[in-house]
Each structure stands twice: as C-alpha cells, then as structure tokens.
C-alpha cells in the first residue's frame, strides 16, 4: 500500500514541477478567463439594469457565482488532460506503462491533481489583486455547513471531470483525432455545467433533467453549494447521491474503455 502511494507521490511531484515550469501557458489561460469575467460583468450588468433580481438573485450574487465558477474551474476542471492522454496513446508512450506495475489511470490522475493544485492556487493571485474592485459585489451565504460540504463535492467533481477527459483520451484507440469530440463536449459542458449562466435560470423541467446529468456535477454542484443557489441540506445530500453514482459509472466506463482499447492497441518497435 505504502509502496503504491510512493509511486503515485512521485507522479504527483512530477505534475507539480511541470506545471510550475509552464507558467506562461497558465498566465495566458488566466488572462483569457479574466477577460471572460469582464464580459460577464458587462453582460449581466446590462441585464440587471432592467431588473432588480434575476431568478431570485441580485447582481452581486450572480457575479459571485461567476467568480466562484472561475476559481472552481481552475481547481477541479480538466483542461487538456484528454489531449495529453490521446497523445500518449498515439505516440505509443503508454507502452511503457503496460510493462510496469503502474496503473495508468492513477498515474494520470496524480498528475491531474498536482496540476489543479497549482492552477487553483495561482488563479487566486490575480483575484486577490482585483479584490478591492470586486469585494463590494461578492455576496456569499454565511452557513458554515456550505464550506464543510463543498470540499467533498469538489473532490467528486474533480473525479468526474478527470474521468470524462480520460474517456475522451481513451477514444484515441478507436479514432485518430479526438479534437472534434472534445470541443463538441466542451460546448455541452459549458452549457449544462453552468459556465454560460446559472443553471437554475433554466425552465424548471429542463433544470430538473440537467440535475441528473454528469455535467451538473462537473462544476455547478460545488459552486451552487458555496454560493447559496442550493438552498437546503436535503438538496445537497440528494446531489451527493447522484454525484457518487456518476463517479462510479464513469470509473467503470474508464476501466471498460481501457481494457477494450488495449485489445485494439498495437505496440511497435523495440
């Protein structure tokens, strides 16, 4: 057990180092997201100029939602893990894992956790700088249980995010180029994951359906817990139940795709 942990600890440390080295890539992505926040601020500012509250929430609460969503994406979101896995399959780099006592999923997941730790902490820096401008808009509920429950929700969200990315990576066993599928899925995820607008603004029936889809649990669920868009503990427990079910289902799918994919895989060369 301890040996296994040591193995993946090394992968984790490797992930930390590599993410600290590619700081420019992070800075570029962080810069885009900051600009996206400006768009959010202008758009929703204009929306609220004609209405006092939208879906029962004030401008401050909506802006807080998007701010927390941004931070959450950097802490739990899968950015290019699907491409990395796809490249490793295409280039035959996974061959080395087939010969060693290393679980490829756990190896990649360790790197993913390290990467999110670095990007999550780094994105807080520009937000801290802009805090004097933003603090008057930030409106968070004061229930302590939200802080306690958001941590496991984030951990499960990270697992869902990574598992979906892993599934797309595995598709390389069947398709030469997965980019189209990934960008298609990004469109669905950005919509049903609550990145475009808070999901509770959807018509009630559509929102109910969205609550049973995995995208809801990718980022929206922990953001909604923290920002008060989920009102009661009962709703949170129900959410956890569905979220755990999706984690189990996706982990199973990951394993299935890995086993089936390897049957199609051909390792060439010495």
């Amino acid at each position: 057990m301890l040996t296994a942990l040591t193995k993946y600890r090394h992968a984790f440390l490797l992930g930390l180092q590599s993410n600290l080295v590619y700081r420019v890539n992070f800075a570029v992505r962080g810069f885009f997201y900051m600009f996206h926040l400006v768009v959010v601020f202008i758009l929703w500012g204009a929306v609220y100029s004609g209405a006092k509250d939208i879906g029962g929430f004030s401008f401050g609460q909506t802006l807080t939602y998007f701010l927390v969503m941004l931070v959450m994406q950097f802490f739990v979101g899968a950015f290019n893990e699907d491409y990395q896995i796809s490249e490793e399959i295409r280039n035959g780099l996974i061959n080395q894992f087939l010969l060693k006592p290393i679980n490829y999923f756990l190896y990649r997941f360790s790197i993913f956790v390290a990467a999110r730790l670095v990007t999550g902490i780094l994105i807080l820096l520009p937000l801290l700088v802009t805090l004097p401008l933003l603090h008057e808009y930030i409106t968070l509920p004061h229930d302590f249980w939200r802080i306690g429950l958001v941590v496991p929700a984030m951990a499960l969200s990270a697992l869902i995010q990574f598992s979906i990315a892993y599934c797309f990576g595995m598709m390389t066993f069947w398709f030469l180029d997965i980019q189209g599928f990934v960008i298609l899925s990004m469109a669905v995820e950005s919509l049903l994951g609550g990145q475009m607008f808070p999901l509770d603004l959807l018509p009630a029936g559509v929102f109910r359906v969205a609550q049973f889809l995995p995208f809801y649990y990718q980022t929206y669920f922990p953001v909604a817990i923290l920002t008060g868009r989920i009102h009661s503990l009962g709703e949170v427990w129900q959410g956890f139940g569905i979220q755990i079910a999706w984690v189990i289902l996706l982990l199973g799918l990951n394993q299935l795709l890995w086993v089936r994919g390897l049957r199609r895989h051909t390792a060439v060369g010495g």
Binding site: V28, I54, I183
Partner: protein, 262 residues
C-alpha cells in the same frame, strides 16, 4: 491580382476535394460549430426568460446582433481560421519555412491556404438567425441597407482577420506560449454585446480602442435603424487600421523568425 485569385481558387478546389475525402470530419466539425452557436443563442434565450431588455435591446434585437456576430465569425472560420491557426503552430515549430519559399506574398499564402466548408455551411444558419430575428421585429430593410449590411459584414471579416493575424503573430515573440489564438475568441465574446452595455473605461477599451463591439453593432444597427454614416465610417476606418496593423506586426515578427534549420 489575377494571379492571387487563381492561387486562392486552386486552394479552394483543394479544400473542397479534401472535405469530400473526409466526410465524417466535415460532419463532426459542422456539428461542433452548430453546437457552439446554439450555446450562444441559448444564453440569450434563457436571459430573456427573466428580463425584457438588455441595455435597452429587446430579445429579437439581441438575436439579430448575436446572429450578425456569429455570421462574421463563421466567415472567418470558413475562410481563414485553419490557415492562420496552423500559421501559429508552424511559427513555433519552425515549419513556417515552407511558406517563405513560396512565390507570393507570405501572409497571403499562409493565411488563405485552407477553406473550411463546415464554417461556411454554418454561415447559412447564422443568416437564418438574422433573417428570423428581422422577421420577428417586422423589419423591412431597403436594398441600400442590405448592401451596406453586406459591406459591413465584409469589413467586420477584415477586422477579425486583422485581430487574428495580430494575435497569432505574437508567436514570433512568445514561442513558448501555446493557445494565444484564444485571444481572438476572448475578444469576439465582446462582439455579442450591444454598445449601450459598455460604460466608462469599458466603452473606451472595447468600442473605441478595440473594434470588437463596432464589428457587430454597426451592421446590426444598419438593419435595425437604417443606414447611419457614423457607423459606416467607424467600421470602414477600423477595417483599414486593423488590417494595416496586422500586416505591419506580421512583417516585424517575420524578421525575428529564426527557422527550424540547424
């Protein structure tokens, strides 16, 4: 000029033949674009479930604006995106040498090499959105208005081309940064907002310094309120300025290009 037209037509023929060979890719990417367009349209639809106005713009006025913005973006995707995106990658990897050896203007050869039919197909969807919104608004634009609208769309395409070439040209300086083409997508988000939503510093930055708001607002205003010389002047001047700036920065960057040869 005729020579360049012939080169472009040859590239277009090659792109069509290539699309016919990879039909699944074509369908997949056309669906990808359609999905992203739908996401933007759904955002507007959902917001208007809760309000009747965004900065004084009604639902169908906003749809007309977003449709116009998507139309320009589809043309950019169809005519230039793949070529310019690859340009950035080629600059980073050193494969740009291939274009330096071609007998023609380097920027023209590099930025018009491929045409994506999936983007162009979706431009009909964007036109459909504009036509539907205009119908719901009861608009009856004159031929002059439609002509000016088309000219403004063309100018908008030139501005977007300039913005994209400018951001990709940064690869000459920042070779380690991947994904700088994302600057274009970030900026284009602003073009789906009405000018009235921009106030103070944001108005100066995104309406006057960067032309992202003018690009979509000028043609949309022409359909909504008829031809206004102020908007026409703004978009034509911005097109000249941005394509000029892009060409200048690209050539400055080209001087720094150190090739891939050892």
């Amino acid at each position: 000029m005729t020579k360049y037209l012939q080169i472009w037509l040859a590239s277009a023929r090659y792109s069509v033949a290539r699309t016919m060979m990879f039909r699944f890719d074509f369908l997949l990417w056309a669906t990808v674009e359609l999905f992203w367009m739908s996401v933007n349209l759904l955002l507007i639809t959902v917001i208007y479930e809760h309000t009747t106005s965004i900065a004084g713009w009604s639902k169908y006025q906003m749809l007309l604006l977003v449709g116009t913005s998507l139309l320009i973006q589809r043309f950019l995707m169809g005519f230039f995106w793949s070529s310019i995106f690859e340009m950035g990658r080629n600059i980073r990897t050193g494969y740009f040498d291939y274009f330096l050896a071609q007998p023609g203007n380097i920027l023209f050869m590099a930025s018009t090499r491929k045409i994506d039919l999936d983007g162009l197909i979706n431009s009909f969807v964007a036109m459909g959105v504009v036509a539907y919104a205009a119908h719901r608004l009861g608009l009856h634009p004159t031929l002059l208005d439609l002509g000016v609208y088309a000219l403004m769309i063309f100018s908008g395409l030139i501005i977007h081309y300039g913005m994209l070439v400018l951001s990709i040209s940064l690869a000459f300086w920042i070779t380690s940064a991947q994904g700088i083409e994302g600057i274009y997508f970030t900026l284009s988000e602003f073009s789906r907002l009405p000018k009235a939503a921009f106030k103070g510093v944001a108005s100066v930055a995104f309406v006057w310094v960067l032309p992202v708001v003018v690009v979509s607002n000028a043609p949309a205003e022409t359909l909504l309120r008829g031809f206004q010389p102020r908007w026409a002047l703004a978009i034509f001047a911005a097109a000249l300025l941005w394509v000029g700036a892009a060409v200048w920065v690209f050539h400055r960057g080209l001087r720094r290009y150190s090739s891939a040869s050892s």
